[in-house]
């Protein structure tokens, strides 16, 4: 009975897998248009009615925080962008959003800062006008600046109850010694506390990075291409280009394995985090795509390791691996939340052994196909509303300033062979390339 059932399942699987992908990974027709000042506009009309999602992506993040004492500044500056202009003081900015019934927020990561608003289509012009104003004419006084720095401290405080923030901090500073990826986007607590004293620097920051050549506007939803172009030209073409180029220190090659341990002051489950230095995002070379596939093959919910550690031995309650797309070389990271401190060495051993397998023998083509299928459908499922589409495009924009990135990486997934994965694994999963961070909690 069990056999027959399984056969039925796998046959259905094969039939569906045999169907060739009919369309591109990013299936929407889009318009990509550059203004003379270097601002890029990407418009994606969709069939989802009424709603428009507007993402404004600035290619600045904690990666650009090169000066000492300024960690967390890109994120802090994201907060300052809500502190108003002459034409739209904060109250009027809020009133306008209220009138539009809009959902509005922003986020910052290592490589980007994104401002996003979702609203009804009739409010598109109001939103583009108001956003154009704050990107060009932001103006805030010292008291507002100092007060906002405290809100950032509040953000640090609310995140600090969980050990993950501390793990991120320690992993970053252990794996990177020169490059700015050595600090988190939130920044060091000492720098956050010093933010109220950095008013003059904040003006310089705006002057450097909030420029059209760093910025891409993404408009997705119930819109047409031409009217969007006209509106963006009307409100954004007067924005002046800047001249600043970030010089980001290059991280020298790692020469020996690194490790760090965190004693967490309260009871919690132990963590084992293993990271390998890997190259920057690429969709012209095989590396990024291969590492994505290895993360899924080796550590996702259908991997043999997950079955062993989470389902059978039940030593681990959460297992995740990722190659995180970054502008500069970053990390391939495997995070295990372990149930007992004494199992940490065994879990570490099992993770290392999984990685060794990728270096020793090519993966089965059938398993590779299953992962490819998963990635195809994951992408399709993630594009189910205008806001989600805009958010996906925004991530691609941070890397290569075009949604085409999504198609290129998807095509790369399709082209890779088991031999490619073997070569990539051999290239990066070396002891000298590795950082291990462990965390254990206080005894109960």
């Amino acid at each position: 009975m069990i056999k027959r059932m399984l056969l039925a399942v796998s046959l259905t699987g094969l039939l569906a897998a045999a169907a060739p992908p009919k369309q591109k990974a990013f299936p929407y027709t889009y318009d990509q248009h550059d203004l003379n000042n270097g601002l890029r506009l990407i418009t994606v009309p969709t069939s989802f009615p009424n709603v428009v999602a507007l993402y404004i992506v600035v290619q600045v993040g904690s990666r650009n925080e090169v000066e000492p004492g300024k960690t967390g500044f890109a994120h802090f500056f994201e907060h300052m962008m809500f502190r108003g202009t002459k034409a739209y003081p904060p109250e009027k900015f809020q009133d306008t959003l209220q009138q539009a019934g809009a959902a509005n927020n922003a986020f910052t990561s290592d490589d980007l800062t994104a401002y996003h608003t979702t609203f009804s289509k009739q409010d598109l012009e109001v939103m583009l006008r108001m956003e154009a104003d704050r990107f060009q004419n932001l103006e805030y006084a010292l008291p507002a600046f100092q007060t906002e720095a405290l809100a950032v401290l509040g953000e640090y405080n609310k995140n600090s109850a969980a050990p993950e923030l501390r793990i991120d901090e320690v992993l970053a500073e252990t794996a990177f010694k020169k490059h700015t990826y050595s600090h988190t986007t939130l920044g060091y607590l000492a720098d956050i506390k010093d933010m109220p004293n950095q008013y003059a620097y904040s003006k310089e920051f705006f002057n450097r990075f909030y420029r059209p050549e760093y910025t891409t506007i993404v408009v997705v939803g119930d819109v047409q291409i031409e009217p969007v172009r006209t509106l963006v030209k009307k409100y954004w073409s007067g924005w002046k280009r800047g001249a600043y180029q970030s010089i980001i220190p290059v991280e020298p090659p790692q020469e020996s394995p690194r490790a760090a341990h965190i004693e967490w002051p309260t009871p919690t489950l132990p963590y084992s985090v293993m990271a390998f230095r890997v190259p920057a995002y690429t969709d012209t070379e095989k590396d990024s795509a291969a590492l994505d596939l290895i993360a899924a093959l080796g550590f996702s919910r259908n991997s043999p390791l997950y079955k062993t550690l989470v389902l059978d031995k039940q030593q681990v309650d959460s297992l995740q691996a990722s190659y995180s797309n970054h502008v500069d070389p970053y990390l391939f990271t495997i995070v295990s939340r372990v149930k007992k401190n004494e199992d940490l060495p065994a879990v570490e051993e099992a993770v290392l052994s999984t990685l060794a397998n990728f270096k020793d023998s090519p993966v089965a083509a059938e398993r590779l196909n299953r992962v490819r299928r998963n990635l195809r459908y994951t992408m399709a499922r993630g594009l189910d509303n205008s806001e989600a589409i805009a958010s996906t495009v925004a991530q691609a924009v941070a890397l290569r300033r075009t949604p085409e990135t999504l198609n290129r990486i998807a095509e790369m997934y399709e082209s890779l062979t088991p031999q490619d994965l073997l070569e990539v694994a051999r290239r990066y999963f070396m002891e000298n390339n590795r950082t291990i961070v462990t965390l254990t909690g206080a005894p109960k």
């Binding site: 059932m5 405290l150 509040g154 389902l311």
Partner: protein, 492 residues
């Protein structure tokens, strides 16, 4: 023979009283098919001493394998389709949800059906999921998330000895005591045909709903649950509960039960009131403006008239958390220890002023306009649209968007201000603080000494004047209504 006849008669009588499953079908041309199956049962149906049973039952169905397939085989089968069956349990509802590309609907549905209707009930899965639940309680909630902890402790206190009181996940000891027999029994009794609502959206075949209906016939027949719950225990005066733990700052949750829920005559009036005071994660609310924007006390401050868990991770509420009773709640995100007393005073100062003054006609118009438009954003995905439609059936109201838009059109500023005065008050409140050095905070709050603010930033004169009123505001906590608990004793 007689006995058999009797059994047939009993079965017929049961059938006469039974309800069929309910279907909410949105259809549509999208190749993504969304399936949402909601069972009208939840932790309010947990037997005493087995709190967490509803949640663990759902976990076992969604992550425990079927009789034919072990859980790893289920994962293996679903993996190439990139489908995961999500589940959510609350007091009155249990939800299973998945999206699948229509290419995979057939293969997916075959497995989904077995997960819910022919579960595996294996000891090894139960052991894993009990561990997972206990870790969620002890680690994810209690150790790592001060904000969510404050909210859950607030509900726990306001609903003491009430079916809504225990944590939906249960406590470490009750979860530990649950066995396979308990799960089977809960599933048989509560997963009845009448209790099921199936939501469908996307380009599924026309015959699909009928097929699901046929498959659901293996469940026991039953009447749809229409829960009646006892009134929450009366709240007297000012109650303070400090949870002491080693953490950087102080997180507050403040609230009291209200009689208003969706469908109540004052629901929309309170929805507008909530939105003016502090709509979730919006920077427009009065609380956010006065605590964060003007004074930099923390990261954000919001008001709620319905249960909204996981608010620190998301902007919109999840549907299918419908309850027959709700509370009014203020969420004050973590504040630094030196300003914790002032922040609490300011929160009550704002609430007091809000209750006294209500909204001006202009504020009312603006807020009503916001809510009228913003409601469309809540249902921007098919998942949410189905979820809201199923909640509307629960509350006996029309489509939520229509209900809000039509109702708001008729609403007046007087309706809102009257509803604020009727339902919001500061006589009987519960305050929960998650705090380091709890004893110190307790002493400070009970002593009621002034807590003057100092700012690095220059502040307008009016703000400093207002601070003087706030910093000596009496918060009438009393020692006999104040409790201090170490965090590690909670939900054990």
């Amino acid at each position: 023979m007689k006995r058999r006849l009797m059994l047939i008669l009993i079965a017929a009588a049961a059938l006469l009283q039974a309800d069929p499953p309910t279907f909410v079908s949105l259809g549509g041309a999208s190749p993504l098919v969304t399936l949402r199956l909601v069972v009208r049962t939840g932790s309010a149906s947990d037997p005493k001493g087995k709190e967490g049973l509803a949640a663990l039952t759902a976990a076992m169905l969604a992550q425990g394998g079927t009789r034919q397939l072990t859980y790893d085989q289920v994962v293996e089968a679903l993996y190439p389709m990139a489908v995961q069956v999500g589940y959510q349990v609350d007091k009155e509802m249990t939800t299973f949800s998945a999206d699948t590309h229509v290419d995979n609907l057939e293969a997916f549905y075959g497995i989904f059906k077995s997960m819910l209707l022919d579960p595996g009930w294996r000891e090894n899965d139960l052991k894993r999921l009990k561990d997972q639940t206990i870790n969620e309680i002890r680690v994810s909630l209690r150790a790592n998330n001060d904000e969510e902890l404050g909210k859950e402790v607030l509900y726990n206190l306001l609903y003491e000895a009430h079916p809504y009181g225990p944590l939906t996940l249960g406590s470490a000891s009750t979860v530990g005591s649950i066995g396979l027999g308990d799960l089977r029994q809960f599933w048989r009794t509560n997963y009845t045909q009448g209790n099921i609502t199936v939501g469908l959206a996307g380009a599924y075949p026309a015959t699909f709903p009928a097929r699901i209906r046929r498959d659901l016939a293996v469940l026991a027949p039953g009447k749809r649950a229409t829960p009646v719950r006892p009134a929450p225990p009366a709240l007297h005066g000012w109650n303070l509960h400090i949870v002491d733990k080693r953490t950087r700052s102080v997180a507050y949750s403040i609230g009291f039960p209200i009689e208003v829920k969706r469908g109540h005559a004052d629901y929309l009036a309170l929805l507008v009131a909530q939105s003016f005071l502090g709509p979730h994660r919006s920077s427009a609310g009065v609380l956010f403006q006065n605590l964060r924007e003007k004074r930099g006390l923390n990261y954000g401050d919001y008001a709620y008239i319905e249960y909204f868990p996981h608010g620190m991770f998301q902007f919109e509420p999840d549907p299918n958390l419908a309850r027959v009773q709700q509370i009014f709640q203020l969420w004050i995100r973590p504040v630094e220890v030196p300003t914790a007393h002032f922040a609490l005073r300011l929160a009550f100062h704002e609430l007091d002023r809000f209750i006294q003054n209500g909204l001006t006609p202009a504020q009312f118009e603006q807020t009503r306009n916001f809510v009228t438009k913003n409601v469309n954003l809540l249902t921007k995905t098919k998942r949410a649209e189905l979820g809201y439609a199923i909640d509307s059936l629960f509350y006996g109201i029309p489509n939520y968007g229509r209900y809000v838009v039509d109702g708001l059109r008729k609403l007046t500023v007087d309706d809102v201000n009257r509803a604020i005065k009727k339902h919001l008050q500061m006589r009987n409140v519960q305050v929960v603080a998650i705090s380091p050095n709890g004893e110190e905070l307790k002493t400070k709050l009970l002593a009621n000494e002034p807590s003057p603010m100092t700012y690095t930033a220059e502040k307008p004169k009016e703000l400093l004047e207002e601070d003087k009123q706030v910093d000596s505001r009496k918060l009438p906590f009393k020692a006999e209504k104040t409790k201090l608990t170490p965090a590690d004793r909670l939900f054990e």
